[in-house]
Symmetry: C2
Subunit: 436 residues, 2 copies
């Protein structure tokens, strides 16, 4: 079996080394220098707006000629208002607090032997994103703000847009204390595949695209991947739910943006409220154009199509919803544990004890009571910006802000201390906490 | 090419499911319940000490008969004092602060819509450790304290010891609020291999053993692995070092426990101090039984053997040390960046500015000034106990305490809020920080 991932070419290795070197410098820059660099990036994007919009128009024309599917073509669009919003986004990231140099731990191990744990950048991130060219600006801003170099690979369809944006970003950085070499743009499919093999040169891969893209990347790299392949989210409508409120939350959770990973795929309804709730819910969902697939109990109450076993484990990412009646909270929890992807689950209930039981028991990155699953998002959480959403269990989990791009380092300052003295018992550790 | 890792048997899947169910209950237990469980585990180990010591004697006898290498046989030993120390360790872990239920973030997204981020257990950890049977007690204590289930696999040589320890731990848990099913002991090689494929049932693999074991596991699982394959640590002796102190630190860093990952493999010496420092260092290292391999400059000053290119990238884990002269701090940093494994590096210098430059520039989990690299250890750092040392860049990094066994979850409590209202602009986010 040959791996589908080619080895990096000497040219790519050279480029990655250059990014790593630039990132090493960037990691030691001051907060003010990084803020100024983001302002220079924003200003350069504004100055180059004609070129960027022109390049995007050319990408869209080519997409039309190539018969690109409309959904993909729509994501490609970068018009004036979108560019303005993206530039404003760069300035918002500049305004976020400095994630670097924060002291998380400060301990006097012994007299004159002081340990501290300080936040530092990861190093170099590799970002692979599909069609949407505005992602390039957002990720570049997040990377520089957090002191990281980045190897960026956009979709083939957006290559003219990405090249124009990247040129502007480099021009901006050239007028700052941050080296333009900190951001490199990969253009070929071979390069983006070889990126997955840059062990030791890249510290984190961030795929921003389809589930299939994320799964392919997870299967083909030893580097850590920040992302999630599945978003099978549930809403459980409890026996003691407020039916009106539950319906509003259910509709929003499904139809506000059905392609999003935090939209629900399955609605679980307590049997005691089903006869009252479900017929109204069916009418509302059908009116909203949602195809409903139910178990026997749900079908008996008006759900038009039967659900198969496969439905419970499917992320539709579309106007389709599976519906199931459950006997009690325990049955709802068991269904979620079996079929969920630990992304986001919600309960609707007026009983606070039931809500708290759900919030305690469900083992997902987000667990909500009486509100829409669509709130699972970095901006809505108030994180300021989002690198991505992670469904891995280890932190960073859930919507990830700048936090996903930093790590920490232990520093220890002494005066010639040796471990042998402590091992022999001549010296003893104090382990006294010092103020952060 | 067939994978060396077999699929889990139905029996192993059943057992892993049982651990996962028990872990789900354990995750919701109180601090006091988990502390009491650890006390019960400690008491049961004390009660079963005769059985445990007898089982260990049988393991050692079998090892002798099988001609096990002395180093491995030594790690197998669990005598009275060691067992007493291990039981005391279980009680020390009980006394550590509760890592669960800590609120890390608390934000009012809008009136009546409150987000919090709470620490929770990972779920189930899979631990594979070689020979040393005391590791089983330490890891079991850490797992239960942090609310995690564990699938534990000890070395074949220690199977009688592990079985006796596991039986005692289960007996202890049976007298507590924690289900004995939370800790399962795997015994066959097939099971420990299949453990690597328990996606969705196991959240983290912790290998405690040789570099070869860690590397094999990293290459054969999609699950996250907490560990490190390489520990190529450096000590740089600066031109302005105190020679006496630098020699003491260098010796401790190499010989205090040469098999440890935080022992140095390469000594970098500034050329300006080399003529004074190196001949004395060579004499001291040779007297301590250390084989020295140097570059041309080092050999000219008394290092007996020449080093090859391969030496700079080798973790000897033994009484061997590579020595190189460097022109300045920059050259030392470049050597570390090229050959280091980002584990732990130290500088000896009396110049505070040089020390700070080194502490800022070196991108390793631990960066030390004027003390031994051997301090890179969870106990010495004051973390109370150590799960392992991680050389990955993402947190947890460096020596990892209970922190490595926990993650967090976002909880959002509302009153029927929907995202559509905010998307339309009818509602605006407050994002007001609340007290933790």
């Amino acid at each position: 079996m040959t791996s589908p991932v080619p080895d990096p070419s000497p040219e790519l290795l050279q480029r990655a080394l250059a990014v790593r070197r630039a990132a090493g410098q960037l990691a030691q820059s001051s907060d003010a220098e990084r803020q100024a660099a983001l302002e220079a990036m924003a200003a350069a994007l504004e100055q180059a707006s004609a070129e960027i919009l022109g390049a995007n128009a050319a990408d869209r024309e080519a997409a039309l000629a190539d018969g690109l599917p409309p959904a993909l073509a729509a994501r490609l669009v970068l018009d004036g208002p979108k560019l303005t919003a993206a530039v404003a986004g760069v300035r918002q990231v500049a305004a976020l607090g400095d994630p670097l140099g924060r002291r998380q731990l400060h301990t006097e191990l012994d007299q004159g032997l002081v340990l501290e744990r300080i936040t530092v950048p990861l190093g170099v991130v590799g970002v692979i994103f599909e069609a949407r060219p505005d992602a390039l600006m957002q990720i570049a801003a997040l990377a520089v703000r957090s002191g990281n170099g980045a190897l960026l690979k956009g979709g083939r369809e957006a290559r003219r847009s990405c090249a124009a944006i990247h040129a502007a970003l480099q021009q901006g950085l050239a007028a700052s204390a941050v080296s333009p070499q900190a951001l490199d743009l990969l253009t070929s499919r071979e390069e983006s595949l070889a990126l997955l093999k840059l062990d030791g040169l890249v510290d984190l891969i961030i795929p921003r695209g389809s589930n299939a893209l994320v799964r392919f990347i997870q299967d083909n790299t030893r580097l850590p991947v920040l992302g999630h392949a599945d978003g099978i989210c549930h809403l459980y409508v409890d026996a003691e739910a407020d039916g009106e409120e539950a319906l509003r939350v259910a509709l929003d959770s499904k139809i506000q943006y059905p392609a999003a990973c935090n939209a629900i795929e399955t609605l679980l309804v307590h049997h005691a409220i089903a006869a009252d709730f479900l017929p109204r819910a069916v009418a509302a969902f059908v009116a909203a154009g949602v195809e409903l697939r139910g178990d026997a109990g749900a079908c008996a109450l008006g759900v038009p199509l039967p659900a198969s076993e496969e439905d419970w484990g499917t992320e539709y990412s579309d106007l389709v919803l599976a519906v199931k009646l459950v006997d009690d909270l325990e049955a709802a929890l068991a269904h979620i544990a079996r079929y969920g992807s630990r992304h986001t689950e919600a309960i609707c209930t007026t009983n606070p004890a039931t809500a708290e039981q759900f919030l305690r028991a469900v083992d997902s990155a987000g667990v909500f009571a009486n509100c829409s699953t669509r709130f699972a998002d970095g901006f809505r959480y108030g994180l300021g910006a989002e690198v991505g959403i992670s469904t891995q269990t280890l932190p960073p989990r859930g919507p990830v802000g700048l936090e996903g791009l930093i790590t920490y380092r232990y520093r220890l300052r002494g005066h010639g201390q040796t471990v042998a003295d402590y091992a022999r018992g001549d010296q003893r550790f104090l382990h006294r906490s010092l103020p952060l």
